[in-house]
C-alpha cells in the first residue's frame, strides 16, 4: 500500500461494527451529553455509558476522589440514575447519534445482573452490553464477582442466556491470573473482554490520620497503571480468542497503539477524558496517522502485532 491510502480503522466486537476502535471508558464520560460540547460524538468508535443498575444509586459519601502520582483513586460507589431514568432521560439524546451505545451495568446479585441485562437487551438504541463484574457480591459476603472464576462463569452464563446483544465482560485487575478470568468469561459465552477496571488502592491523610476517601479504598486509574494494564491485555489476548478491549491509562494515540500491539482489538479512554475533554478524537486521529506511516492497512494487522 502507498503511504497515502487511507487505513481502515473499522473493527467488529462480537458482531457490533465500530467506525474506529476508540471508545469511552465507563464512568468517565457520563452519558455522553456533557461531552457533546468538546467532542464530535459521531466520530467516536462507541460510547460506553456510566455503570447502570436496576435501581438508582446514591453512591458513596464524599470525598470520592484523590489524586496520586500519575493517577487517581475514585470511590464513586457506582452512583447512577438507574436504568429506567437512563432510558427515559439520557437515551433519547444518544439515539440521535450514529455512534453505537454500549451500556455498562452491574448488580448486587446474579438475579439483579440478569434483570438489568434483560432490560437493557430489550431497549432500542443500546447496541451492546458491558458487564462490570468488579462489584461486591452480596450473596457471597465480601468476595467479588470478578475474582473467583467459578462465580464469574456462573454470572456470565446466566446473563448470556438472558440476552441477545453482544455481551462484553469487564474484568477486574485485582486477581492473581487475569487469563483464567478471561477464559471463564469466554467459556460462559462472552463476546468480548474489557480489561482492565481500576486497581484497588488507598491513600491516608497523615494530618487527620484518616483515609482520604470516605470509602477507605478506591480504584486506581490513569497513566500510573498503564504498564500493568498493557501486561494484562497481553495475557488476555493470549488466553482467549474473543476480542479484548484494552484500557487503563490511555492518554495518547501512542498509548492506544501500545494496547493494540499487546492484543487489544479496540481501546477505551477513561481518566484521559478528565485531563483533556477532546482527547478521544486526538487518539483516533493519532492511530490513523500511525497506521498510515507504518503502512498498516487494517486493525487486524495491528492487534497483537507485538513481537514478544
Amino acid at each position: 500500500m502507498t503511504e497515502n491510502s487511507t487505513p481502515d480503522l473499522r473493527v467488529s466486537i462480537g458482531g457490533l461494527k465500530l467506525r474506529n476502535p476508540v471508545m469511552t471508558a465507563s464512568g468517565t464520560f457520563g452519558y455522553g451529553d456533557e461531552y457533546a460540547e468538546f467532542v464530535d460524538l459521531n466520530r467516536l468508535g462507541a460510547i460506553v455509558v456510566k455503570g447502570l443498575s436496576l435501581r438508582p444509586r446514591q453512591g458513596n459519601p464524599p470525598p470520592r476522589i484523590v489524586e496520586t502520582p500519575a493517577g487517581m483513586l475514585n470511590a464513586i460507589g457506582l452512583q447512577n440514575i438507574g436504568i429506567n431514568a437512563f432510558i427515559k432521560k439520557k437515551l433519547p439524546f444518544l439515539r440521535q447519534l450514529r455512534t453505537p451505545v454500549i451500556a455498562n451495568f452491574f448488580g448486587d446479585s446474579i438475579g439483579e445482573y440478569v434483570r438489568a441485562a434483560e432490560k437493557l437487551d430489550n431497549t432500542d438504541g443500546i447496541h451492546a452490553l458491558e458487564m462490570n463484574i468488579s462489584c461486591p457480591n452480596k450473596q457471597a459476603g465480601w468476595s467479588i464477582f470478578g475474582t473467583d472464576p467459578k462465580v464469574t462463569f456462573k454470572v456470565v452464563t446466566e446473563v448470556r442466556q438472558a440476552v441477545d446483544k453482544p455481551l462484553i465482560v469487564k474484568l477486574s485487575p485485582n486477581v492473581t491470573d487475569i487469563s483464567i478470568m478471561a477464559r471463564a468469561a469466554e467459556d460462559a459465552g462472552a463476546d468480548a473482554i474489557s480489561a482492565i477496571n481500576t486497581i484497588t488502592g488507598m491513600v491516608i491523610d497523615i494530618k487527620s490520620r484518616k483515609p482520604r476517601l470516605a470509602n477507605t479504598t478506591g480504584g486506581l486509574s490513569g497513566p500510573a497503571i498503564r504498564p500493568v494494564a498493557v501486561r494484562m491485555v497481553w495475557e488476555c489476548y493470549r488466553a482467549v480468542s474473543i476480542p479484548v478491549i484494552g484500557m487503563g491509562g490511555i492518554v495518547s494515540a501512542e498509548d492506544a497503539v501500545e494496547f493494540m500491539l499487546a492484543g487489544a482489538a479496540a481501546v477505551a479512554v477513561g481518566t484521559g477524558n478528565f485531563i483533556r475533554p477532546g482527547i478521544t478524537i486526538d487518539v483516533i486521529e493519532g492511530i490513523r496517522s500511525y497506521m498510515k506511516s507504518s503502512c498498516i492497512r487494517s486493525m487486524r494487522e495491528l492487534t497483537g502485532a507485538a513481537q514478544c
Partner: protein, 269 residues
C-alpha cells in the same frame, strides 16, 4: 467560544507570601464568566500532577481574566512558576456562580482567607459604578463585606476594595487587624447591632469549610437566605466523573455542575 482553550500568561505576580495573581489571555473569545464560576488549569508537563486545578474567577477584564490563588501543593507551586508568555490549557467558565441580582437589598458578602478571590469579582458586579453613585441615591444598597483572615498581612485586595468604595469589616485570627477572632462571630454581633439588616438580607460567602458551616448554621437559624461557594476535589470539572459531590437536602449534588455556589440551607455539613 469553546470552553476548552489555550491562554497565555500576561502576568503572574506574587502579592504576598504564597499568594499570586495571574492574568490570562485566552487565544480566542470565551464565554463571559460570572462571579463564582471557575476555570480549570492544566499546570503540568508530565502526568504528575495529573488533573487540572480549579480556580474561581477573580476578575473578568472583558477578554482577559484574573485568578487569585494561594500555593497549597504541587499544582499551585507549578502554576506560580509560570511566566509571562507561557501558555496553559484552560477549561471554563464552569459551574453556576452567585445569583447576582443588582436590586437585592442588604447584601452581605463574606470572605474567609483566599475565599476573597471570587468575592471581589462578585462585589464588582454588584456595586454600581461610581458614576451611578454620583448621580445619587443607590449608595445605600452597597453590599457589606465581612472579611476574615489569619493575620493582617494576609488581608488581600485592599486597593480593589477601596476603588469600589467598600469598607470591609475585618477580623483576623490574631487580632492584628480589625476584630480579633472568627468572622462569623463578627457577623452575629453586627446583625445584633443592626437588626433591621436581618430582614431582606442575603449572604454570599466563600471561604474555609468551618467558616461556611458556622455561617450556614447561623443563617438557617435566623432564616437569612444565603449562598456559599463550595470546594471539593475535582477530576473532570464538567459533571461526568461524579467525584465532586456534596451532600445536600436534595441528594448528592456535583460542585462542578450544580455548584460551586449552593443555597446555604440545602447543604448538609
Amino acid at each position: 467560544m469553546s470552553r476548552l482553550f489555550t491562554a497565555t500568561v500576561t502576568e503572574n505576580r506574587r502579592i504576598i507570601k504564597d499568594h499570586y495573581l495571574i492574568t490570562l489571555h485566552p487565544s480566542g473569545k470565551i464565554k463571559k464568566p460570572g462571579p463564582g464560576t471557575f476555570f480549570m488549569l492544566d499546570v503540568n508537563t508530565g502526568f504528575d500532577p495529573l488533573l487540572k486545578r480549579p480556580f474561581s474567577l477573580h476578575r473578568w477584564l472583558g477578554r482577559d481574566f484574573q485568578l487569585l490563588y494561594r500555593t497549597a501543593g504541587k499544582g499551585t507551586y507549578l502554576l506560580s512558576k509560570k511566566r509571562k508568555g507561557d501558555t496553559l490549557e484552560v477549561l471554563g467558565p464552569l459551574g453556576n456562580g452567585f445569583p447576582v441580582r443588582k436590586k437585592a437589598k442588604n447584601i452581605m458578602l463574606v470572605a474567609g482567607g483566599i475565599g476573597i478571590a471570587p468575592i471581589i469579582g462578585l462585589a464588582e458586579a454588584l456595586v454600581p459604578s461610581k458614576s451611578v453613585i454620583k448621580k445619587g441615591g443607590m449608595h445605600k444598597n452597597l453590599p457589606v463585606l465581612f472579611y476574615g483572615a489569619r493575620t493582617k498581612n494576609e488581608i488581600l485586595c485592599t486597593d480593589d476594595l477601596r476603588s469600589l468604595d467598600m469598607e470591609p469589616i475585618i477580623s483576623t485570627d490574631d487580632g492584628t487587624l480589625g476584630k480579633k477572632g472568627n468572622i462569623v462571630n463578627v457577623i452575629k454581633r453586627y446583625l445584633t447591632a443592626h437588626p433591621s439588616r436581618v430582614r431582606d438580607s442575603v449572604f454570599f460567602a466563600c471561604g474555609p469549610t468551618p467558616m461556611l458551616k458556622a455561617l450556614s448554621t447561623f443563617a438557617v437559624r435566623h432564616k437569612i437566605r444565603g449562598y456559599a461557594a463550595l470546594e471539593e476535589h475535582m477530576a473532570c470539572g464538567i459533571g461526568t466523573c461524579l467525584g465532586c459531590v456534596v451532600q445536600t437536602s436534595r441528594g448528592h449534588k456535583r460542585v462542578c455542575r450544580e455548584g460551586p455556589v449552593f443555597p446555604i440551607e440545602e447543604i448538609i455539613w
